[in-house]
Structure formats: C-alpha cells, structure tokens
C-alpha cells in the first residue's frame, strides 16, 4: 500500500483518480489537482486582467485624445469669441449702421450696455512731445 502510494504521478493521471481503493492518495491527488487547476485559473485570470488593463489603458488614451481635441476646439472658440468681443468693444471698430431718418448712427453696444466701467487698455503715460489737444472743463 505504501508502495502504491509512492507511484510516480504522470500528469495525465491528475485528470482522473487512478487509486480509488486508497482514499488518502485519492485525496492527495484531488488536492494536487485542485491546486494545479487553481494555478492555471490564476494564470488565466492574470492574463485576462492584464488584457483588461491594457484595454482600459487604451480606452483612457483614446478618451484623453478625444478630450484634448474637444478642449482645443473649445479653447480656440472661446479665445476667438473673446477676441471678437474685445475688438467690437473698441470705439474705432464699432459697426456702422444708418439710422431711420438717414442720420448716421453707430451700433456701439459698448457705450450703452456694458454693465461696468471700461478701464483703459493702457494707462496714460507722460507725454513727451508737443501737446496736440487739450482736455479741460468746458
């Protein structure tokens, strides 16, 4: 019996139990079989998880690329709109139109609808040449 228990176990015998008459051996082989199948499953699981991780990473990269493109487009849009608004608020670039009575009018929303004071784009600086105009009370 002890001799039977010492038989070399071939890999193919793991799938079945060749020693039905020796419960302890059977149990050992069952445990070994279970362990080996667990290891195999574990390897499979690792592989699957790895693949899943790779897939997720690829998804993340794709999503990031998409977000970058969207942010770029949005940024360009916002910057463009801001530039247009800033340009249209310059008195010199007001859009000209004609009043109903033929009187010239200028659509200058910056003078009529700005919700706050418009500070100068650049603070005044010391004049270094001869004065061209006078600003005083009138």
């Amino acid at each position: 019996m002890a001799g039977a228990c010492q038989r070399v176990i071939e890999p193919e015998t793991i799938r079945g139990c060749p020693f039905e008459d020796h419960p302890s051996s059977v149990n050992s082989y069952r445990i070994l079989s279970l362990f080996q199948s667990m290891m195999a499953s574990f390897k499979d699981m690792n592989r699957a998880e790895q693949q899943e991780r790779i897939r997720r990473r690829d998804d993340d990269v794709r999503r990031l690329r998409r977000l970058t493109v969207v942010a770029g487009v949005l940024g360009i849009g916002v910057f463009g709109t801001a530039s247009l608004v800033a340009a249209s608020s310059q008195p010199g670039r007001a859009i000209a139109a004609t009043g109903t009575a033929g009187s010239p009018a200028v659509q200058s929303s910056s003078f009529t609808s700005q919700p706050s004071f418009q500070p100068p784009a650049e603070v005044p600086f010391r004049g270094r040449s001869r004065a061209m105009a006078v600003s005083g009370g009138s």
Partner: protein, 357 residues
Amino acid sequence: MEIATAEFGALGTNARVMVLDAQALPDALDAVRRQLQAIDAACSRFRPDSELSRVNEAGGQTVAISPLLTQALEVALRASRLTDGIVDPTIGDALLRLGYSSDFASLARHGAALPWAVYTSPGWQMIDLDAGAGTVRIPPGARLDLGATAKAFAADLAAARAYAAAGQGVLVSLGGDIAVAGAAPLEGWTIRITDDCRSAFDAPGQTIAIRSGGVATSSTTVRRWMRGGATLHHILDPATGLPAPEHWRTVSVAAGSCTDANIASTAAIVLGDRAPAWLAERRLPARLVGVDELVLCVAGWPVEVRPVSHWRPSADPLSLQLASSIDALEEPHPGRRGRFPAELLESDALGSGELAR
C-alpha cells in the same frame, strides 16, 4: 506721415479733429461734422426743434424717437446705473431753476437772486425708455439734460465714424472730451490736461499721452454764473438739485471710451472726498485737482513732478481711505500756490496726514 488738424465750433464748444495722414483729413472732418450735426439735432436741450426738446415738452406722453436719441438715452441711463444715480439725466429742470436756460455762450453771467429751494430731481428710474420700439416717456414736468454724457458719446461716435471714413488713426476732441480711434502716433496722442479746454498748450497742468480709449475732464471752474451774489456751476448733485460742493476743481479720467471717462469725471466732482477711492476701485486712472490745488493721481495716472513717497496717513478714516487709493501726490503748479506749498510736500510734516485733512 504728417498729423493734420482742423478745428470748428460745434455743440456750443470747439471741436478738434486730428488725423495721422493729412490726405485723409477731409473725409474724417466730413464724417465728424455729420455726426455732430446729428447729435445736436437729437440731444440739444437748447434747440427748440431738437428731439430732446420734443420729449421734454411732451407732458408725460410717449414720444417716438430716433435710433440716435435712443442710444444717447441708453448711454445716459447706463451712466446713472454705473454711478448709483450720481449722474442723472433728469436734472434738466433743476438746471433751468438755477438759471441755466440757454446755451452757455448766451447765458447772462449775473442775475437777480433765484427763488431758492432744495429740489430733488425726479430720478432716472422714472424714464420709461423702450429701445426696441424707439419710444420714451418721462413724467410730466420732468426735463432731461444729456450734458453729462452726450458730448463724450458724440466724441466716441465721431471718432469711430472718422476712422471708418478716413482709414487712418484719428483723435476727436469736443470741448476737452477726447476720443481716439485706430492707430496712434508712435509717441501716442499727446494731450494737455488743464482746467479749461480753451487754454493754450502751455497752460498750467500736465501733459500725458494715450493710444486708445478716451480722456475727459470735468471742472467747476468753467460754466460758472452768478445769481443774487451766489456763484453757481453746471455740475449738479441730483440729490439736492444744487451745484455739487466744490471739493475738486478739476477731475480728469482716462477710460476705455470717452463716454466712460466723462461719466466717471462728472461723478467724481459730485462724490467729493470719496472720489479717489471710488475711481481706484473701478481701475480708472484719474488726476484730481483740489480747490486748494493739491493734485492727486490714482489708478496709474502718471505723476507729473514727483511722488511724495514718505507721506503716511493718520488714523483718520478719510486719510486712510485716501492712502489706499492714491498713487501719488503732486506738487501744485509753480505758478500757483495752494494750501500746501512745495517745500511742505517734502517735509516730515506730511507724516501727520494733514494733507488728507
């Protein structure tokens, strides 16, 4: 390239047009003239045939108005909103009561005492403007005066028109309310800041330069008249219907447009000692000349002579308020001697905060 200049009378004051290229001057001038004529026809309080006079005489009825007057009224109402009613177009009746009933050039400088009474203007909120429909209604008896905004608004419009017509950088000055449009000269548009727009280029004051936007100056030293021995000026406090107390003789402001600069300079005269902090809070560079001729520069306005860096405020609240808003104090003009002589400006006496009173 030579800068070309032309001057002519308009809106009861003088108009000055400057263009970077002399060849473009006729086109610019034509555009400015047409714009000013349109503004005068729409906004003059003294022309009986103007649209504004029609509104003032409507007795509370709704009146159809042109797009230009609609815009001018929108500008005036915006000024009231921005200043919490310190600049209010419904002071027309108060000005009439004080004797300012005609173009200033023809106004009698002396006259009999007026029946004085504390009078409050109806208030800008009573103006019922429908910009979409192009109509306006004001309460019966109320009279509008667009003097605080229309001239500066006209300067902005005229500069924009002239630039569009001439294709060159332009400066338009209407009685000291200055708007520029398009490219500026390399050294900027050079402007003399002084009490009176009719002054010579070397009049006491300061020379500055701007490249965009506008500059406006409000002063209590011009448009003064007397009634019954009392001196009056044209900048009224809507709360009392009387000329604002003279804390500042002249206030100059630079802003993104001449309109905004003029709204702020007018409000600063009425605000009195609160003006420096008010202007600094709104990031509007300004030069304020007190009745004692002490000059304060706020929000980045360049200092002409030298900053008084060692001035320290006292614990007095007004002094502290000024200290937080003032960039520098200027020495009074050498030709004038105010309450604080030049030698005092460099002395330690300033450490007591006396300058802020």
